[in-house]
Symmetry: D2
Subunit: 329 residues, 4 copies
């Protein structure tokens, strides 16, 4: 199988997964879930919008909740290093025939609204209003003590074009999954910031957001947050886990569904992957059962995701075998 | 509902759940599971028997594995305080028309073999060979770092007689579950050592051993032991959890099946219950879903258990509603 | 060395360490320390008194703070099993020539005020108002998440009489420390509830209370509570630890001084000691350095303690060698 | 105060702290410390050299121990992205009048031996032999479960030139400490990989290596490793901690001295710092006591370090006030 070549000096520097914007139907309920239970820090809020960040984050927001309309994922946010990179990014997306538009977004200024080849609506920015890191404000440590955003997982009916598109932008492929005995890509794990992923594409009807992932401190918090969710009336939001991924990323995880069904992953561990010679790790789907314990992901986890605002979901192009999500067998 | 009266000064002093004896089919495989993976300490072993204890235990064994024959639970062990208590215990069981016999058991000397009203084969002793507590021998901390035995759960087709029998012996009822809107007992949690249970009886075809439970140090070990079991080829032994009980005991647990299907619970927390005024906590079956998160116990957990050596399993006497195990709804 | 004989069937049944009463100078400051920072649950409070308990406790209080006067320890509380035991206790103390008086104490009713041979003012009761256990009320989990009271340590200028006195009441000696090469007792660890200690006596100018100890869930909380104390202006209250005892009890601990200098130990682990054949563990002072790591206890920990209300502190009778606290070398 | 300007597109790409080479006097003893106790993975070993890595590392070594001679630090290793960067690095160091030499180093091939302006002997390479990441090989998890190398701290008698030198190479200044009321730099924290530091320079007699730091999973391991060190005869190696830094990095740490006195930091947490607008955090020395708890670093921690092979230690140029290490007050 020929994988795209890694571009070590890309034309512009995407630096990391930045933020996600969810449309929600009941902001008060979302606040009870994300702030009062999970423990996100409120950076700003008004009647229609809640700007949240993790305890260690010095940027204004990594999670934006907007009330009104259908509960879609509005945008997936990426960071570039400088304002110049933002212009270079626009040129790149334009050259690929993708729509681009600069928008003035509160607390982040000039931001590029565009769409990737998979149909993911992106919001790319070079800077944000800064806020104090709360990493030592222990009186704010609460619930899962979310630390920072880590990555997104997007469902797409064609993984290969997404892989090529992102690798051309300098993303590195850390891991990927193929159907057994074939080179059919089921999932690709792409990163810019030196740990296993900033964005993941998985084969399924798409484009849809499967989840946004945030880091939390310890295994203790993986279990404690479930207990607290139960107490606060969100017991059914625990969709899968706490458990362990026996494949890409190896994370200890729990997957939650917020009051609108948006999926959040909380996890505790990843590994560093920076070096030239770190080759993409290849998994066959059946490899994912080696060492496995625990329940399989429920059907909801395998099949459901948040629609992107303004995107039509395309069914799987060719579906020779059941469309299965990453960690299922 | 009238519960039996607590006997605060019983005729003889049972002190605690002591040990369990399992017949196993492949001692080497059991050793790989209990010693090399879970981290039990070997007190003694020969070709046919493995004597194990937890890291903090100063007694010779809390788990005895004997090779040969069908994989039954041979005996559930209880401790009394003194040799005099052992004689008084014999008198008590005899007076109830139950068979009693003194046997010389290796590493524990004179032991009373008898049967309770539910049909549970008991081995009661007053003393055991002592061994060094390994609580500070950190180089032996391994796997789940099991600390000590805590309790047994027995399935019985008649809970009420078991409750009365054990309370007459001075066991206190810490918690119990009834079918909704009735006084039909589904489960009773009985204790002598000042935490929620030494022996539990649950309504199901019996007598069978549902599980023996051991304490482990931290939530970290609940997750780590599952990972290690997976690596060592025992991934399928993780039957339910890691999770939380939303009813009697409130424990953070994981349930494992050993290579012969014997069920072990590992858990991290209980509460102290010593005082006169600690009334039994009453639960209706439906209360167990308050605050709940996570998967339901699998059918295997609800219906399977280890047969006791030499006992016939009686079906449920009256089965107005489905026989359900404790933590299911 | 001849140790006193264990009394397995004492005349009356002390069950456990129950509560401690501290006089404090500024109730608001004590509340900031114990409730807002450490995370104790408030059972009741008025202008002059704060009744606190741990998250798992079903009894009304294990820590009572009374404003006014010098910051002494007013009383150390013990539980007996029944009201009859309370009368038997009175008879026993009287027969030893010790003052006894029944007092009606809020939330615990008839309580025996007396003094032990070391001069420790005791408050013994058979019952208390009950309160809901908060073990599953996860939204109340805060700070160190204190679970329950465990034991007291008392400084006395004569350890042997205290040992004999408590063993006559049925306390068991779990561990003791002697000066190297001698039988001079430096510390005795006495228990009733089946773990290493309910009350400890250590050789030093006394009677004074060295500390009251409470259990907390995990190592994580040992470190987190220090961080939170620092944030809340109580950083200097961390007197020793987090560390590990390399002798009696083996606990992972942290010692704190409250705003009045009363000392609290928070710890995570002990072992079960119930059986007949559990002989007292003998330590020579020098044994305590085997396996040792970390800082030595500061001089304050070695020499300071809370005076008991109305007691004169007697200096050490014979002081052949420096008076050293338990865990120092 | 004018800080050097950040170079966002440096001439060549240093990617991360890579490895450290220690000369040791007794390789067997070092193995007992690093492998059998701390839990490092052995990548290769022969009679005179031990190549170690952390559990998550896919590179051949992050810690190299060579027997023979004085127990110095031979080299501090840095990674560049490509072989081209290695040539560009040589050109850069040459242009600064610093000695450069290409050496063929086992398991890493062509490596640049050079010296920075502070006198730190560097070994820069673009690649290494790869080894399997052991992140899922749970049977190897042992001791502190070291995950990966994170950073170095170097003592230097002139911080400013080191700061300027590294920032010219594209290192970003995450945090720095000045003497109160002045702009005198006491410490600078420099990073390339997106967390707070890859290399730190602290004002003291130098050049000497203060410590190399490795990440470990959880607070549990911070305490457990101390216990295990004690058991294995290395109790005195615990120099400071477990504790918390109340300044740059905010890490939960423990500092150890290996059998030759080389200092290792194990820590559990850092924060991500990637964005353009992340300005260097300025600390006055006295700020470091805000929120503080626990013991001060011992004098050894403040004053001692490993000499670099072949370097003369220069005393502090101007010493207006006591030379104090970073986290002391």
């Amino acid at each position: 199988m020929t994988l795209p070549k890694t571009v070590f000096r890309p034309a512009f520097a995407v630096t990391r997964a930045s933020h996600v914007v969810f449309a929600v139907t009941d902001l008060a309920k979302s606040r009870a879930f994300y702030v009062e239970t999970l423990g996100f820090v409120v950076s700003d809020e008004d009647k229609s919008t809640l700007y949240l960040r993790g305890l260690e984050e010095g940027c204004h927001h990594s999670l934006v909740l907007k009330s009104g309309g259908a509960p879609t994922c509005e945008r997936v946010g990426m960071r570039v290093l400088t304002e110049d990179d933002l212009d270079l990014a626009q040129a790149h997306f334009k050259s690929r025939g993708l729509p681009t538009r600069f928008v003035d977004v509160p607390f982040q200024g000039r931001s590029l609204h565009t769409v990737d080849v998979a149909g993911t609506p992106l919001e790319i920015c070079a800077t944000m209003t800064t806020k104090p890191r709360r990493i030592m404000d222990f009186e704010l440590f609460h619930g899962a003590c979310p630390q920072r955003i880590d990555h997104f997982q997007v469902l797409t009916n064609e993984v290969r074009p997404a892989l090529e598109f992102y690798m051309q932008m300098g993303f590195r492929l850390s891991e990927y999954i193929v159907n057994d005995g074939t080179d059919d890509l089921r999932a690709v794990f792409l990163q810019r910031k030196g740990n296993p992923h900033d964005i993941v594409f998985v084969n399924n009807a798409g484009p849809r957001l499967h989840h946004a992932a945030f880091t939390i401190p310890e295994v203790y918090h993986l279990m404690y947050i479930c207990d607290l969710l139960g107490r606060n009336g969100f017991g059914a939001s625990v969709e899968w886990g706490p458990g362990r991924h026996f494949g890409p990323g190896y994370a200890r995880f729990v997957y939650l569904r917020d009051p609108d069904g948006h999926r959040i992953e909380l996890f505790t561990n990843h590994y560093q992957t920076i070096d030239m010679e770190d080759e993409p790790i290849r998994w066959q789907a059946s490899d994912l059962s080696v060492g496995r314990w625990g329940t399989f992901p429920p059907v909801s986890w395998q099949q459901e995701g948040s629609a992107f605002a303004g995107s039509d979901v395309r069914p799987l192009a060719i579906q020779e075998r059941p469309a299965v999500a990453v960690h299922a067998r």
